[in-house]
Symmetry: C2
Subunit: 238 residues, 2 copies
């Protein structure tokens, strides 16, 4: 069985958290919407009345007959099956908890450039975006990054990983989070990075893992861009 | 072992999704922050450097030595242990997927009255709130409610529950979602309710379950109020 990942073909977005897990685990997959007519195939799963368990939105993973949506849910599935999460119940819940906290911040970052409505252009909510970005940088990023830094500091198995002594999908997601934040808010992150050394080391450590490094250098990795969640709008950086 | 729920003592908030699951399953629990000095106890878990796996925020559930945070994660745990989720992997993932989608909408509803920053008063972001609420009612509520209505319509085991032929935590959460929306947006929901009859029936069906009815009538159920996620600000309703 070859997994099928269904996600928007021109952005990293939430699909990237899944791609990183698939790549690190060395799992064969098809990035469906990036193949010919693949985006139509993806949309069929959202719209077809015969799909009894439809996703609300991409990303979703097709694993045989299973269709799994919601990024954290897909990672819960992959983590358990492919060694990217602890085998214990407590470890799996803790890893998932961290993933859901990362997802919360990702949502807040999205809303920084779309504080009023996803359906409006950035230009039509720019004033509100500027206001929201100020609070993201001043309050929310320090709160979230401080939290993950503490989690690394307190990990009884060492500060290389968020959970235990080996890599989990939460580490891959933290890597993607830091990469995205560094792209979107270079000035703010230059300052904040210094205060969160363990988190920055985690990011650097994931970046040099052979499979991740090969993936990021490949054409499979979509470049950051301004249709994505993490957008470089210099006027929002501080 | 008696579970400890830790959540803000004066609002339903995200903790309510956990309370409903605990109540329906007939599980003994202490709502810690509502006991004497209980809020300080709750805050200790967030701040104490000895907690190696700290929650980012309430709610969290203490189950013996386990501390589980993130609403959907707590429900994943409770659902599996206490018969509020299917026993199959596919059923568990589907239930969790629905819960995460409900959580997304709950987050959007929160941001309707706090589109700029949680740390600011509503009064200081009222203009933006009005603008965001317009799109919530016009676009997001129809999209989400239409989705859950379709899920009910397509359930091969009937339209009484979101998953299979028996109640899951996703149904309890959908009940809470509809109850909250009906409180916060009575005019909009009077209209939208008519277009989503299965979802309204699900809400009504959960409301008359003996344990839920007893709970909602008890002092354990905190009344809706304007410090909560679902707030009645008539100027935001349409």
């Amino acid at each position: 069985m070859v997994y099928e990942l269904h996600y928007w073909p021109t952005i990293q977005g939430r699909g990237e958290f899944v791609r990183l897990a698939l790549e690190e685990a060395g799992i064969r997959y098809i990035d469906v919407a990036r193949t010919d007519d693949g985006e139509d195939v993806m949309l069929t799963y959202l719209d077809d009345a015969h799909v009894t368990r439809p996703p609300f939105a991409p990303p979703f993973l097709k694993a045989g007959k299973l269709i799994i949506a919601q990024t954290a849910n897909i990672l819960l599935f992959l983590g358990e099956r492919h060694g990217l999460a602890p085998a214990t119940t407590s470890g799996r819940l803790w890893t998932h908890q961290l993933q859901l906290t990362i997802a919360d911040l990702v949502g807040e970052v999205h809303d920084t450039h779309h504080p009023i409505a996803s359906s409006l252009y950035y230009e039509d909510q720019k004033r509100e975006a500027k206001r929201r970005a100020h609070y993201l940088i001043k309050e929310r990023l320090p709160k979230y990054l401080g939290y993950f830094e503490r989690v690394l500091e307190r990990n009884p198995r060492g500060s290389n990983f968020l959970v235990g002594a080996t890599l989990t999908y939460a580490d891959l997601s933290a890597y993607q989070l830091i990469a995205g934040l560094a792209y979107a808010f270079p000035k703010a992150m230059a300052r904040l990075g210094k205060r969160h050394p363990n988190l920055m080391r985690l990011h650097a450590g994931v970046a040099v893992r052979p499979r991740i490094a090969a993936y990021v250098a490949s054409e499979r990795r979509i470049a950051h861009n301004e249709d994505d969640i993490f957008r470089l709008y210099p006027e929002l950086d501080e």
